[in-house]
Amino acid sequence: MKILTAVCIMIPMLWLAGCATTPNQNSRINELQQQINELDSGPDGKQYAPIAVREAQESLDKLKNFKGKDEQYEHQVFLTEKRIEIAREMVTQKQAEETVATAELRRKDILLDAAQQESAQARNLAATMAGRAQELERQVTDLQAEETERGLVLTLGAVLFETSKANLQSGAQRTVQKVADFLNQYPERNILIEGFTDSQGGDDYNHQLSEDRAKAVRDELVKNGVDAGRIDIHGYGEQYPVASNDNAAGRQQNRRVEIVISKENGADVSDRTSMR
């Protein structure tokens, strides 16, 4: 009978031993608590699934105050772990649903942003155009250009050339370069270069000289990046004088090269002969 008594005493003892919380179980509880704490709130402190999180916490609380058999304890651990996983899924789901719900708002934000950026860009463009128009005006004044029916006419005076010579003087090159810069800003405009002489010398000679001078200006323009295809040349000799050939001052005015820039993009400059 002694043994039966011993067995009867030992069973409850083993039972009790199972109930006592071991350090191992404590670290497990801490670990689960940690997982719940991480779930408890999103990065912005917002609770996404408060009920599921509370259920997980209640399940863990049961574990903390657990009094029962080892296998029952393990069962409660199982349930708690699952509850935490469920809460985690709920949080993820709510966050994803929030993304979907706010999508319309964000879509409008993007469009609004784009519209604002576009109007700023349009304003910039308008300002640039206005600036360019002003610049053009200033340059025209600078080059002493004249608006005519045929287009914008720039007159390069005879000082550019030595008498009876067609090559440009060194000082003239800077003037031509300025013209080239101007032309390069308006690449669609075509150009006619016209050469003129005074009445001294024979017609053929003067005609050839006027053409050579026009060519010299063309070559200089091309050297400065103006597309040769845009440029026509014409030598008029002593025709179309702008001043009297009776005195030196008048003759100097007549020795000249005129650059005519077309009014319209792509249009050719009309010839003098076809004008009148």
Binding site: K2, A103, R107
Partner: protein
């Protein structure tokens, strides 16, 4: 005194017998667990959370076997395990669906952001 094996077995049998006789069959829990597995299957857990669903199904079938043997004490925790596994399978399925929708939206917003950027070529009709 000679130890008879009976002396060792008797208390154990007594404890078990007393446990069994007082436990009621957890029929409500069984119905709940069966329904929850079906629910998980019907929301598409087979595709979104196959492992957890299988777990729930296995616990349920073990519980059903225990019920047939009238081991109700054994069946109860199995049913509880099955039930919570089904719940997890359902939650995971829902969360994966929501995540997929969110990803899709995010992709569309990205596309819109790129297309709405000034200077971008507008090819699609996201502006309706």
């Amino acid at each position: 005194m000679k130890i008879h094996p009976f002396h060792l077995i008797a208390p154990a049998v007594l404890v078990l017998a007393s446990a069994c006789s007082t436990v009621q069959p957890p029929t409500t829990l069984l119905t709940q667990a069966q329904e929850r597995v079906r629910q998980a299957e019907s929301v598409g857990a087979e595709e979104s959370a196959p492992l957890v669903l299988r777990e729930a199904q296995q616990y349920l079938s073990e519980a059903e076997k225990s019920m047939q043997k009238e081991h109700f004490e054994e069946a109860r925790p199995l049913l509880e395990k099955s039930l919570i596994s089904s719940e997890l399978a359902i939650a995971r399925t829902g969360s994966q669906k929501a995540q997929k929708a969110a990803e899709e939206i995010e992709k569309n917003l990205d596309l819109l952001r790129r297309e709405a950027a000034p200077g971008a070529n507008r090819t699609s009709n996201l502006y309706q």
